[in-house]
């Protein structure tokens, strides 16, 4: 598996992986918005034939009042490509770039309350902690856990 920074060329492959895996989907323009605002912090995993099998789409939170921190818009790995530690590697690389390029000191993300698999990935594998519950965060009214990981 080739793991590297995402470029504009990868966005359609990321979108494809996202549409296969997750219920939260975005049009290409939203991916472009990430790639052309924070080009350093999104990454992809690509198989030997050049197909995108995993990605992390990340942004910086822009609220000037808070200290700079990153936010994971979406992360996923195709089902067949599990157990390679890809999500972990993608997350680590993204965090590193958030830190060096944008001086981020923590990273946040949201997860559906009912999404146990994702919750356990963030919590147990990646070391995130739940900071609060955001009621009705998702379009369909479901609550989200707001999670956070401090970076030293």
């Amino acid at each position: 598996m080739n793991i590297r920074p995402a470029t504009v060329d990868d966005l359609m492959g990321m979108q494809n992986a996202n549409l296969h895996n997750l219920p939260e989907n975005y049009a290409i323009k939203y991916y472009l918005y990430h790639a052309l605002t924070w080009p350093q912090i999104s990454f992809v995993a690509e198989d030997h034939k050049g197909r995108i099998v995993g990605y992390i789409l990340a942004k910086m939170d822009e609220e000037a009042s808070e200290e700079p921190h990153g936010h994971v818009t979406s992360i996923s790995v195709l089902r067949n490509y599990r157990r390679l530690g890809l999500a972990n590697k993608l997350m680590k690389l993204s965090q590193q770039a958030m830190k060096t390029t944008f001086q981020a000191n923590h990273v946040s993300l949201h997860v559906r309350k009912t999404n146990r698999a994702a919750l356990s990935l963030y919590k147990d594998t990646l070391g995130f902690e739940v900071v609060q519950i955001e009621e009705g965060y998702y379009a369909d009214g479901e609550d989200a856990y707001s999670m956070r990981l401090n970076m030293k």
Binding site: M1, N2, I3, R4, P5, T7, V8, D9, M12, Q15, N16, L19, H20, N21, L22, P23, E24, N25, Y26, A27, I28, K29, Y30, L32, Y33, A35, L36, T37, P39, Q40, D47, H48, K49, V53, L78, R79, N80, Y81, R82, R83, L84, K89, L93, Q96, A97, T100, T101, F102, Q103, H110, N115, A117, E134, G136, Y137, Y138, A139, D140
Partner: protein, 903 residues
């Protein structure tokens, strides 16, 4: 975005107007130009009202002026703009055009005309209008800004440089304007000028504190420009000088490491790449560059080079034991015993961890027969050893004495099942899967793989059943859901497929399909198109292909907002990347797939219009259908808008309660708000209008043109180009298409029958056909056929060997011998059954040809094909299929209705 001004430029004389413009501008009648002071005040109001989007008020004010001065050009144009913003576009255009006619020397009317075209995405026309406005009003930043964006959007680099220079001339103090010019110069290939402009920009920024992101991005961009200019030495020095100011350390290090390599400074390059590898040892780019820095080359064809590369990779693997990438790359280039050892450690590592993708990962090695055999032998060995000793039985691993978990056995079965399926040994594969399932029941992976194996063996229904079973094992997983939907589509059960995906699409979307279209979900739309095409529902198939075509337009146009956004955000490198990506956007396999699907339907329509069902509607009936659809859609749209309004209000309330904004997909990056055009109502939701076209070949060209431009590296592009050209009797174009394909791959089997067909066609052109053209065609064909006769040419294709060439030669025989070659063709097609490499698809294609010849041997062929592909449904009779169905349903009593589970 409104035209600025309102005050008239000094009354222009005819000479001044001509001087300002390339086209002669007739002097406007005075009454069409000037306004009394009362109306002048009103006109200022009009402009303000446009700026503040008060369209209704603006319209009224404009009408007030027109009461006094009915032919006043600028007011007419503004009225048109308001009308258009109020959904009265046609009237709008009429007014704007009249305004332009009445006062061609006014920059306002041209600007307005440009705005209209731009809103309609008529970029070329908009550009012309803006150019005209700019010629009249040279220093308007407003006009120049839009002109610049339009010129880069249309990739008119010289014009982009011009407009950027003008902007800079008018407003040199705005730093961003220097950056804009540098980008224009860079894109226009003026590297030295871009370099100079960037230096000026940086001069203005002497006192910026270190660690500023914006400057850091510009500096990296500057270094990239130098790199692209071939000024590697300067680029690396530049990086060195500015290292403290660059915060994107990764880009800095990668660019620097590449430069070191290009400059041949191998030792520092080696260190540089090694440092990067320590950050990320799974990056192919880093690995390959590191090997190069060590004096070897992974991608070389030279054996010494690859041997050296393997040594470097081995050392790397030792240093980075967790990097699978390093070891995987080695597998590509090593052979013999060396391959076996490395493959074994790679495979056992993955199997003992239960990595499901390990087979997909090594599958690419199967094009090498020896490697394929080695992998099969190894995996068989593991299976035996695991059964006997619960180890992989590999001597290297023997020392650590670990007993593998029983999962290793399962994943080895799973691996071998894929191995045999890849060798088309489907029943063996299925048998292994049965074993795996006995070992671990209810693992979705096993059912998923069974589905794939059955699909490859030609049993779409069995495949669907297995995939449905996989999904039912984990209803929360969208991936399984997606695959299940795909298999529904492969079995041409579209309605169920849509129901299935609907378990995960947005509940408030008009339909699951609509949500997937809005989310640009190509795979689903294309699979539906393919299914409809198989079912002969050509209108719907065309509709889907057009939807993909439209999404590509959408994606292409997404770049528009970023022309200005990226400069404001300083992310120039990413932006340049976007421009280059968009330039070849439609070489994407989804575009190629949709284009091929659509073109093939259009060809069918042209060849045999009477075969198209339902028969094209008469115009009247079509109008009635369209009208009804329009009304239906309009009603829906009203409801949707009302709902949206309500939701917006709701959201606004919520937002004011909570400080934090919620997730907003499709957030518009650019701040400038366009008057939102009303969402287009689809007046042809089922594609009937597309199918009713009187000009199928012209419609096909619409899909083909982008392919010719950006997908010229594919033989298929030129095959499609040929098919359209011969039907349009554009023989030179047809020849050119064949030549292009020939240049790509002279031996491509799909090309061969086209050449033969063209040869036959050209030989039978009427005697009065243009002689010099005929000669060009003959010469061209001789070149393509190596001056051989058609008989020899066709026989030679066969000699290449392999089922693809057997088919090519059979098609060639039909083309030049017609019915006389029937028995010969039959012979060829039966021969194909004996070709070991003949796939199911090849065999089906052969059967289709036999049937098209009304061959008496079709049944005999089917019998033989069934023996070869026992699971393939396509060779079964209706009775056999019915029996299978009964058997299946009998075996699953009570399971009915379970296929789409309510979750």
């Amino acid at each position: 975005m409104a035209p600025k001004g309102g005050k008239h430029p000094p009354k222009q004389t005819a000479t001044a107007a001509t001087a300002a413009s390339a086209v002669a501008v007739p002097p406007a009648k005075d009454e069409n130009r000037t306004l009394a002071s009362k109306e002048q005040t009103l006109f200022k109001q009009v402009l303000q009202q446009y700026e503040t989007k008060q369209w209704r008020k603006g319209l009224k004010t404009a009408e007030q002026i027109l009461k006094v001065k009915p032919e006043h050009g600028e007011t007419l144009a503004m009225k048109g703009l308001f009308l258009s913003s109020l959904d009265r576009k046609e009237e709008g255009y009429e007014h704007v055009k009249r305004g332009v006619r009445n006062d061609m020397g006014s920059h306002i009317v041209w600007h307005v005309y440009g705005l209209m075209h731009r809103a309609d995405k008529n970029w070329e026309e908009a550009l012309k209008c803006y150019s005209q406005a700019n010629k009249i009003e040279r220093d308007s930043l407003n006009i120049l800004g839009d002109l610049a964006i339009l010129s880069i959007h249309l990739r008119n680099y010289p014009l982009y440089v011009d407009s950027r220079l003008s902007i800079l001339r008018v407003a040199p103090r705005l730093r961003r304007n220097w950056l804009g010019l540098a980008i224009a110069q860079h894109l226009n290939g003026q590297f030295a000028e871009a370099d100079r402009t960037l230096r000026n920009y940086e001069e203005m920024l002497r006192d910026v504190p270190e660690g500023e992101y914006d400057l850091s991005e510009v500096l990296l961009y500057h270094a990239t420009v130098l790199d692209e200019a071939g000024e590697w030495e300067r680029s690396i020095e530049f990086l060195q000088e500015n290292t403290g100011k660059i915060v994107d350390r990764q880009s800095y290090s990668v660019l620097r490491a590449h430069l070191l390599l290009k400059l041949g400074r191998k030792e520092p390059a080696e260190w540089a790449w090694e440092l990067l590898l320590e950050e990320n040892p799974d990056n192919y780019e880093y690995i390959k560059a590191y090997v190069k820095a060590r004096g070897a080359d992974v991608d070389s064809k030279d054996i010494e080079q690859t041997e050296a590369a393997v040594k470097v990779l081995d050392a790397l693997a030792e240093k980075f034991p967790r990097s699978l990438a390093v070891r995987r790359i080695a597998l590509d280039i090593v052979s013999g015993q060396g391959f076996e050892t490395r493959a074994s450690s790679y495979l056992t590592n993955a199997l003992s961890k239960g990595v499901p993708s390990i087979f997909a990962d090594v599958k690419a090695l199967y094009s090498d027969r020896e490697k394929r055999q080695t992998i099969g032998k190894l995996a068989e060995g593991y299976l035996k050893a695991l059964e006997a000793t619960e180890t992989f039985g590999v001597p290297e691993l023997a020392e650590d004495d670990t007993v593998e978990s029983s999962a290793a056995y399962l994943w080895t079965l799973y691996f071998l099942a894929q191995h045999y399926s890849a060798l088309s040994e489907h029943s063996k594969s299925l048998q292994l899967l049965d074993q795996a399932e006995q070992h671990t029941p209810s693992l979705p992976e096993i059912s998923m793989l069974r589905a794939r194996v059955l699909k490859r063996a030609g049993d779409v229904d069995g495949a669907l059943e297995a995939m449905t079973a996989a999904r039912e094992l984990d209803g929360q997983d969208r991936f399984l859901n997606s695959k299940n939907a795909k298999y529904f589509l492969r079995a041409d059960r579209v309605e169920e497929a849509e129901k299935c995906v609907g378990l995960f699409t947005k509940q408030d979307a008009p339909s699951p399909l609509q949500d997937l279209i809005d989310m640009q979900c190509f795979w689903f739309i294309e699979e539906e198109g393919l299914s409809y095409a198989r079912q002969g529902k050509l209108a719907l198939a065309l509709k889907r292909y057009h939807q993909i075509y439209n999404i590509f337009n959408e994606v292409d146009e997404d770049q528009y907002d970023f022309h200005s956004y990226s400069i404001r955000k300083y992310t120039i490198r990413a932006y340049i990347n976007l421009l280059r990506y968009n330039d070849q956007l439609r070489s994407h396999f989804r575009y190629r797939g949709a284009a091929k699907g659509a073109i093939n339907i259009y060809l069918r329509m042209h060849d045999n219009p009477s075969s198209i069902s339902p028969a094209p509607l008469t115009n009247g009936a079509l109008e009635a259908v369209a009208q009804a659809e329009r009304e239906k859609a309009a009603k829906k749209e009203d409801e949707r808008r009302a709902k949206e309004e309500a939701e917006k209000e709701e959201a606004a309330k919520a937002a004011s309660k909570k400080e934090k904004g919620k997730k907003v997909a499709n957030k518009k990056p650019a701040e400038e708000e366009e008057p939102a055009p009303a969402p287009a109502v689809d007046i042809d939701p089922n594609g009937e209008r597309l199918l009713a076209t009187a000009t199928p070949l012209e419609d096909a060209l619409k899909f083909l043109r982008p392919l010719e431009k950006v997908a010229g590296a594919y033989v298929e592009t030129w095959a499609l180009s040929f098919e359209i050209a011969v039907r349009r009797e554009k023989y030179l174009q047809a020849l050119r298409a064949l030549r292009n394909a020939h240049a790509l791959d002279a031996k491509d089997p799909s090309l061969h029958p086209l050449i033969v067909r063209f040869k036959v066609l050209v030989s039978s052109l009427p005697a009065d056909f243009n002689a010099s053209l005929k000669k060009t065609l003959d010469d061209g064909l001789n070149g393509l056929m190596g001056n051989r006769s058609v008989e020899v040419f066709n026989a030679e294709a066969l000699q290449i060997g392999g089922s693809k060439y057997t088919l090519a030669s059979a098609k060639g025989t039909i083309a030049f011998r017609g019915d006389a070659g029937k028995s010969e063709t039959e012979e060829l097609l039966f021969q194909l059954l004996k070709d070991a490499d003949a796939t199911l698809d090849d065999t089906v294609e052969a059967l289709v040809i036999l049937r098209s010849l009304s061959s008496s041997r079709s049944d005999e062929f089917v019998k033989a094909a069934t023996a070869k592909f026992p699971l393939a449904r396509v060779f079964k009779t209706k009775e056999e299929l019915a029996a299978l169905k009964a058997k299946r349903e009998g075996g699953a009593i009570g399971d009915e209705g379970k296929e789409v589970v309510e979750e």
